[in-house]
């Protein structure tokens, strides 16, 4: 009797605190996710009330859709370059603004600001920069590679995407690195100095090993963000020039809603999810193992 009461009491507490979150999460995440998986088994066009069950046909069709794999490859390249640059940049900035330079709080705020602007707005602003401001500067100063719009050349348009994404994300990652840097115990640093470490050695052998967990988080966040990029892709290049910068999220959207092939589009979304989840989990697993080994 008493045991049962205790259980009830616990259950009540649990529902009280976790219930709302669980319900919200189920409604906006789990249910659509499962429903989405169901849609991959149909040939729905996104409009009709009728959904014909076609089994695994869509999963077979993915492998014939070479354009999808192109956009996937593009996403991987974009993410790989962006993730490295974002983290190098973010760590550099964090190191700079914790080193005690003048006005460092101002710089912290400044570097973080781009992250507060939504991806769509940011894309349109940079579109103006790349296709108008830079071109006009390039033509007046006779700088060859600036005098035509970057957005009309496939490789330069990709570079533009990466630059903007680094600019946008490194401020946020910088905050995490700042937290990591200030969390390094003072006595360890002092001990290092007494032992005769130079600045570079101090960074390499004392500070960096203490920051593994910051790196794990930042890498995880930047990888998922880059794989999911849609808004920036849409507003900066809109997949152009001639569809050469259309990344996976955008391709999936086009497939489902513009080509009116929702079943296949949804299947490709599931594929994108699997790839993204796989990469993230692998990275977290490796990071965690290192972290445990270091400590």
């Amino acid at each position: 009797m008493k045991k049962k009461k205790k259980f009830m009491y616990k259950a009540l507490w649990f529902t009280g605190f976790a219930g709302p979150a669980v319900i919200c999460f189920s409604l906006v995440m789990l249910v659509p996710f499962l429903y989405g998986i169901y849609l991959t088994l149909t040939d729905w066009n996104g409009i009709s009330a009728e959904k014909v069950f076609v089994g695994m046909k869509n999963y077979g069709a993915i492998f014939l859709d070479t354009a999808f794999w192109n956009s996937m490859g593009l996403t991987v390249i974009y993410s790989a370059i962006s993730v490295v640059l974002i983290n190098v940049m973010a760590f550099g900035l964090a190191y700079l603004v914790t080193s005690g330079i003048k006005g460092q709080n101002f710089f912290r705020a400044g570097f973080f600001t781009p992250n507060l602007i939504g991806g769509l707005v940011l894309g349109y602003i940079w579109q103006f920069v790349f296709s108008r401001a830079m071109v006009s500067a390039g033509q007046n100063l006779h700088i060859g590679f600036l005098s035509s719009s970057w957005l009309s050349d496939p490789i330069k348009a990709m570079a533009a995407l990466i630059i903007v994404s680094v600019w946008q994300n490194s401020g946020f990652m910088m905050l995490i690195y700042i937290a990591g840097l200030t969390g390094v115990p003072k006595e360890l640093v002092e001990a290092g100095v007494i032992d005769g470490c130079e600045k570079r050695q101090l960074l390499r052998y004392v500070i960096l090993p203490q920051m593994t967990s910051s790196f794990v988080i930042c890498l995880f966040l930047s990888i998922t963000r880059c794989f999911m990029t849609y808004d920036l892709n849409l507003s900066l290049t809109d997949g152009g020039p001639f569809g050469s910068t259309q990344m996976a999220s955008m391709y999936v959207y086009q497939k489902a809603f513009v080509s009116k092939n929702y079943g296949l589009g949804q299947t490709e979304a599931v594929m994108l999810f699997l790839v993204c989840a796989g990469v993230s989990l692998l990275q977290v697993w490796i990071g965690k193992r290192n972290e445990e080994a270091e400590v």
Binding site: S149, Q266, A269, W285, K288
Partner: protein, 447 residues
């Protein structure tokens, strides 16, 4: 334990990715303004439909407008309509691709009562749409310009639009010193001679070309499907031939003639150094200011009368003048109104039909279309004349029966797919034969 929770978090965040892909929320809506009022009304309708229909005052309908230049006019009209008839119309605007936007709305079970769509959308959404065959306006032009599927008319032709070469006569006359009459220049040779004359006279690049998908693929390249016997059957037969692989574009006169004209325009394109950096608004400015004399676009252009009213439209001069290609202006009902029958109550459907009748037969409705929105009406009973010069120019072709059929049943992804191909051609990445091959491949993949 820590490891587990971290993995859990990873799974959660990656799940968001998928949800993010599925539900893109970038719609531009201004529903919030009337939200409390309309919510109240719809609840009332749901609970006591009879009470609502008896009073007749309570009906409230929604209308989706997809023409950005008409946003203010529609808002204004809704206020007047409410005063005149007591029916509340809530106007919503979206700048999304209409079919995509409606697919999202129908997926969530909340479409609009009246929707302004493009013609291909009528075929896609047909199962949800109200059959309008019994309406009065059918006899006054509805059957000609509305979309008919299996003998039933499903759409109300809101307006007629034309596609072609816009000219700024003032800018041309300033250079040449003589009056510009478009029919003096409607062959490629005469047209090129004029372009040369303009260039020599100081207008460095007399043509503006857009880089947008819809303009390049659907409007410019669309002429290939339009100029096929000047009939729906001719266009359909040509498209079927493309799908089955029978038609070889490189051996097709219309294709080569069209691409020759494209090359000619490209040669004098003000954005020629970097054609894919073209900007629609900049082109609009160049044209309005007279920096260029020609702009391939359509009768919907409005913001060009700051400097001069001597602006009009002409067909694109082509080598192959079969099917009146150099005489007839491509015209058709592009935007069209449809009524939802699945989610709207019978009262709302009736109110929507009444609204369409009001547009055609009521003085206020006619003046809203013709005077406020300067659109060319599709109905024979309306004798009001449009005043905007481009519309006047287009209307003169329509009144002289000098119009080319506009094939508008192209697939939804024709714009993005063929647009990308034409962009590649335009920027010199592929040649004409490669371009033709890619277009053939696109159509054959649809078979």
């Amino acid at each position: 334990m820590k490891k587990m929770s971290c993995l859990g978090m990873a799974a959660v965040i990656t799940t968001m990715l998928l949800a993010g892909c599925g539900s893109n929320q970038k719609e531009v809506e201004n529903e919030s303004k009337n939200a409390p009022e309309s919510a109240e009304v719809s609840v009332e309708n749901g609970e006591e439909p009879e009470a609502a229909s008896e009073s007749g005052e309570e009906v409230s309908i929604t209308l989706l407008n997809t023409k950005s230049e008409l946003v203010d006019q529609f808002e204004e009209m809704a206020k007047e309509y409410k005063e005149q008839t007591g029916v509340n119309i809530e106007v919503v605007f979206t700048s999304d691709v209409v079919g995509t936007h409606l697919a999202e709305r129908y997926a969530s079970g909340s479409p609009y009562t009246i929707m302004m769509v493009d013609r291909p959308d009528v075929y896609d959404f047909q199962e949800y749409l109200l059959d309008l065959s019994g309406e009065e306006w059918i006899k006054d032009g509805g059957s000609v310009y509305g979309v008919t599927i299996d003998g039933k008319v499903y759409s109300f032709p809101m307006l007629i639009e034309s596609v072609g070469l816009l000219y700024n006569a003032q800018a041309i006359e300033d250079v040449t010193g003589k009056e510009f009459v478009w029919s003096d220049y409607n062959t490629p040779e005469k047209f090129q001679a004029l372009l040369e004359e303009l260039t020599a006279g100081g207008m460095e690049k007399p043509v503006a070309l857009n880089k947008e998908d819809w303009s390049l693929a659907n409007h410019f390249f669309g002429q290939l499907y339009n100029q096929q016997g000047n009939s729906a059957e001719g266009s359909q037969a040509f498209v079927d031939g493309l799908k089955s692989g029978e038609i070889q574009l490189m051996e097709n006169d219309r294709f080569n003639s069209l691409m020759d004209s494209f090359d000619l325009l490209s040669q004098y394109n003000i954005n020629g150094a970097d054609p894919l950096a073209a900007d629609y608004d900049m082109n609009n400015t160049y044209f309005a200011e007279g920096d260029v004399a020609f702009w391939y676009n359509g009768s919907w252009v409005t913001e060009v009368y700051d400097k001069t009213d001597k602006i009009g439209m002409m067909p694109l001069p082509q080598k192959d003048d079969a099917d009146g290609a150099n005489e007839y202006l491509i015209s058709g009902a592009s935007k069209t109104l449809v009524i939802d029958q699945k989610y709207s109550t019978p009262e709302q459907q009736q109110a929507a039909k009444d609204f369409l009748n009001w547009l055609v037969y009521d003085e206020a409705g006619q003046s809203f279309m013709v005077e406020d929105c300067s659109i060319i009406p599709a109905f024979a009973n309306i004798d009001k004349k449009v005043s905007a010069p481009i519309s006047v120019s287009a209307q003169s072709f329509i009144q002289n029966n000098a119009t080319e059929f506009w094939y508008q049943t192209i697939p939804g992804d024709h714009g993005t797919q063929v647009g990308a191909m034409l962009q590649k051609y335009m920027s010199g990445n592929i040649d004409r034969a490669e371009f033709a091959g890619e277009v053939e491949k696109y159509w054959q993949s649809l078979e």
